[in-house]
């Protein structure tokens, strides 16, 4: 019974820290509809800064202040240098935030190393009351966080700045008409939110150790709380953070610490499923606030037959040429790996192209496929065909479930719910040690089946098998286009609310698309297992899912794009001899640069460049012939840029 008191106390203290994090998230979201993924990493930064200063002899108070300022400054910089450019499109802002998260994580690792560190508590000792121990430090955290939050409420309610912030939140257009500088308010929200994260970080650091790669995990916690309270709803937050903090502490106290992530992701997914407006919102956000509206003029670029043929040929031949040209088996196995990546990219591209959802759950789906195949091979001794027979339906179900959650929520929540899904799957593979061997991973005791005289034991035959599957996936998914189901998905993509208004069950269509993508993903996952022979949870973690997204954005949606981009993406770091942390840094920078500079993706940019060049050349030759370059005969491949679609979606 008294243990319960202790858990409750610790839970309330933790909740006060989550409150600080969530207030920052919600402040920024309220004004910009943006969820800054790097927010959690600002917290990590604050922990390291505070620790360094305290170690150097600076008193706790000043170290904490410096950490808060550091977090505020980095928040300010990120708004001025990055997010400012995506204000008209929060979805792109989300992706930039992901990139920033990757960059800051790897930078933190470079500077402070990979160990988890804590901040020395400001106060030692405490008081016992019955069996419950009230550490002074925890009491201090609770009181300080409470005061800061209360101060923030007063600031919002009473001051001119607060009134301007609220006005900008309620109705930016009207606010700017009455003289509120909305742009400045956004900056204020960013700086204040980040500074709060800094303060939260220092406090969090005194409660438990934090490492360089904890940012993603912390943003998800903060987001779970913000969501529970109703995003943008500051007053719901206090209740939500207490609920969440206590819930989490109880899970860790009576269950196991490893179960906490299940709690976090579970909260996110369940809240989004059941009460997308948060627990305390009386009126859930109306559809019109978040739904994708009619997206105006979509850019369908059509290509001539020759270009399509060339693209198709390049798509088939390029990997083969490269595979045969690279001399070493090390490089050949990387080409094989890149085709395995490409299969996942095609699966993701399908969902993206049809439903407009840029899912960060591809790793999760692939993990379901690969692990279910691995588990039945290791524990039941069943081989490849059984693996397919079990993995595909299981992953289809997982994909359908994901699709179900996704179809229940809209706009900015989508990215997060897919992220939570893949984090959840990774956590399962880590925790279900009896089945998955946890961190140590599964080693496959089986090999690919013999078909005729082909044994698939050497790299070359495996490569051609995987390439064949990639081709089948790419062309196969395209075959759905002219079917009834394909058309329904086109309706969802082109104008979801219109499709709904003429009777389409939009949710079902999305579930179908995710299920189909799951099937492809599963086959790819099984092939991954059978060609790489070892799988560990990190093979399919969030970083992997983000890589797939980067490749998709890099390659754009076209037949050859994903394959070419996968090869560049997998081979380049190897040729540059980058270690994984440098790679992560590079991915982050790439992601940011693509969104800011190359919104059409790399491959479509090249194609556009080529088309422009060609039409210039033709125009100089035959003035009349130039007219066709805009929109030649139907039947060509569409090249749509993911970020373009995203842009249109939000507008």
């Amino acid at each position: 019974m008294d243990l319960l008191m202790q858990h409750l106390f610790n839970g309330v203290v933790a909740s006060s820290v989550y409150m600080l994090i969530a207030v920052g998230i919600t402040l920024v979201f309220g004004l910009t509809r943006l969820i800054n993924f790097a927010h959690g990493q600002f917290l990590v930064l604050a922990v390291f800064v505070a620790l360094d200063l305290i170690t150097a002899g600076v008193p706790f108070v000043f170290a904490a202040l410096a950490a808060v300022v550091a977090a505020g400054v980095i928040g300010w910089l990120s708004e001025r240098l990055l997010f400012r450019f995506t204000m008209d499109n929060p979805y792109n802002g989300l992706i930039i935030g992901l990139g920033l998260l990757l960059v800051l994580e790897s930078a933190a690792f470079k500077i402070w190393g990979g160990f988890q560190v804590g901040v020395p508590a400001a106060l030692d000792g405490g008081a016992g009351l019955g069996d419950t121990y009230f550490a002074w430090n925890r009491v201090l955290v609770l009181v300080m966080a409470g005061l800061v939050t209360a101060g923030l409420f007063v600031l919002l309610a009473r001051t001119k700045l607060g009134a301007q912030l609220r006005a900008a939140h309620e109705n930016p257009v009207a606010a700017s008409h009455v003289g509120v500088n909305v742009g400045r308010m956004v900056t204020v929200a960013f700086v204040a939110g980040s500074a709060l994260a800094g303060l939260g970080g220092v406090f969090y650091g005194t409660l438990q150790p934090v490492g360089a790669f904890d940012g993603a995990h912390l943003i998800l916690k903060g987001f779970a709380v913000a969501l529970l309270g109703g995003l943008g709803n500051v007053s719901g937050l206090a209740k939500a953070s207490v609920l969440y903090g206590i819930g989490e502490t109880l899970v860790a106290g009576y269950g196991r610490a490893e179960y906490v992530p299940f709690f976090t992701y579970g909260v996110i997914i369940v809240v989004l499923l059941v009460r997308p407006g948060g627990l305390f919102e009386k009126h859930p956000p109306s559809d019109s606030t978040f739904a994708r509206s009619s997206r105006g003029v979509a850019h369908v670029r059509r290509h001539s037959r020759v270009e399509t043929l060339l693209g198709g040929a390049a798509f088939v031949l390029l990997p083969i040429v490269i595979f045969e040209a690279v001399g070493t088996s090390r490089l050949q196995s990387l080409v094989l790996l890149s085709v395995l990546y490409a299969i996942q990219v095609y699966a993701l591209a399908y969902v993206y192209e049809t439903t407009g959802v840029l899912s960060i759950a591809q790793g999760g789906l692939m993990a379901v496929g690969a692990y279910s195949a691995g588990v039945i091979a290791v524990h039941l001794g069943l081989g490849f065909w059984w693996a397919l027979l079990v993995a595909v339906p299981l992953t289809v179900v997982a994909g359908a479930l994901l699709g179900l959650v996704v179809s229940r929520c809209t706009g900015h929540y989508l990215l997060l719910v897919t992220l939570a899904f893949s984090a959840l799957v990774t956590q399962v593979t880590l925790t279900a040690i009896d089945l998955t061997n946890g961190d140590n991973g599964l080693i496959l005791p089986e090999s690919l089946p013999v078909i005729g005289s082909i044994t698939f034991t050497d790299l070359r035959s495996q490569f051609y098998l995987v390439l064949l599957v990639a081709l089948l996936a790419a062309f196969g998914l395209r075959r759905f286009k002219p079917t009834r189901f394909g058309r329904q998905l086109a309706g969802v993509r082109e104008n979801e609310s219109l499709a709904r208004s003429i009777g389409l069950r939009v949710g079902r269509a999305k579930v179908g698309a995710f299920a189909l993508s799951g099937a492809v993903s599963a086959v790819g996952g099984v092939l991954y297992l059978y060609t790489q022979t070892v799988i560990v949870p990190t093979s399919f973690d969030t970083i992997f899912s983000i890589k797939i997204v980067i490749i998709l954005i890099l390659g754009g949606i076209s037949l050859a794009g994903p394959l070419v981009a996968s090869m560049v993406f997998v081979l380049l770091p190897e040729l540059l001899r980058l270690d994984p942390v440098d790679q992560q840094f590079l991915f982050g920078v790439l992601l940011i640069m693509i969104i800011l500079l190359l919104p059409h993706g790399l491959v479509p940019a090249l194609i556009t460049g080529y088309s422009t060049l060609r039409s210039r050349l033709i125009r100089t030759g035959h003035p009349a012939a130039a007219a066709d370059s805009g929109r030649p005969a139907a039947g060509g491949a569409d090249v749509r840029s993911p970020s373009d679609l995203v842009r249109e979606e939000i507008s």
């Binding site: 189901f485 329904q488 086109a490 309706g491 709904r500 208004s501």
Partner: protein
């Protein structure tokens, strides 16, 4: 009297303190063209959205063929035969007209009874899109765009089609074509409820007219009677349409 397809009883829609629709009683009978008119901001669009479940009423009930359907999902209501085409989200824009209509047909549930006049070539001919089948929907001139919007809605085989200002921005010729189309639809058995500002169109086409003013139902009756009603003229007084009404009366 023919069957009542749709009935709104005491339909009230609030936006905060603003009462956009105030206890409106309204019905649409099978086979008629019902017009809803009223000055700007009188709650016509809000009423259509409430009736079609796009934005369900705060208070009051909506009944479809006698069954209460208040708060139903838009798509469910559409599958039961009530479709609204609003002016701002009319088409699937990134595809050709042909593809847009194919998409619209695919959205209809499999088992649904179809009217032969509202599928395939017949539908294309009905809404007059033969000439532009391979044009991108986003490239269409406004008149065609509206017809595509109506074509898409018709592909769902509605029993009642609600239209919000389908004639806005159309020239006289296009408006006459639109009128011909709507009259043909009525003859084909599709009931129409229409909101529009074009008085000439409304008076000449509608079988019955409901007038809204400041969210309340003001008058209801045959168009020729309604436009002479002093209350209606007063509601419109000072607006350009008021002048139009006075010319008629």
């Amino acid at each position: 009297m023919s069957e009542v397809l749709l009935r709104g009883a005491g339909v009230t829609v609030r936006f905060g303190a603003l009462v956009a629709c105030d206890s409106v009683d309204i019905h649409v009978a099978a086979g008629e063209i019902l017009g809803i008119i009223g000055p700007n901001g009188s709650g016509k669009s809000t009423l259509l959205r409430a009736l079609s479940s796009v934005h369900p009423p705060t208070r009051g009930g909506v009944f479809w063929r006698g069954q209460e359907v208040t708060g139903w999902k838009v798509d469910k209501l559409a599958r039961h035969g009530l479709v609204m085409a609003s002016q701002n989200q009319m088409v699937f824009s990134g595809v050709t007209v042909r593809e847009a209509l194919a998409i619209a047909h695919s959205c209809r549930p499999k088992g649904k009874r179809v009217d032969e006049a509202l599928v395939g070539e017949r539908l294309v001919a009905l809404v007059g899109l033969d000439a532009v089948l391979d044009a991108l929907a986003s490239d269409l001139p406004l008149g065609y765009l509206r017809r595509l919007g109506i074509g898409i809605a018709l592909a769902a085989q509605p029993d009642l089609l609600l239209l919000d200002e389908p004639a806005a921005g159309l020239n006289d010729f296009e408006t006459r074509e639109l009128k011909a189309l709507l009259l043909t639809l009525r003859d084909l058995g599709v009931t129409v409820g229409i909101v529009d500002h074009d008085m000439t169109l409304m008076v000449s086409m509608c079988d019955r007219v409901v007038v809204l003013d400041a969210g309340k139902k003001l008058v209801e009756g045959p168009p020729s009677v309604v436009v002479k009603d002093p209350r209606v003229i007063e509601a419109y007084l000072g607006t350009s349409m008021g002048t139009a009404l006075e010319e008629k009366s």
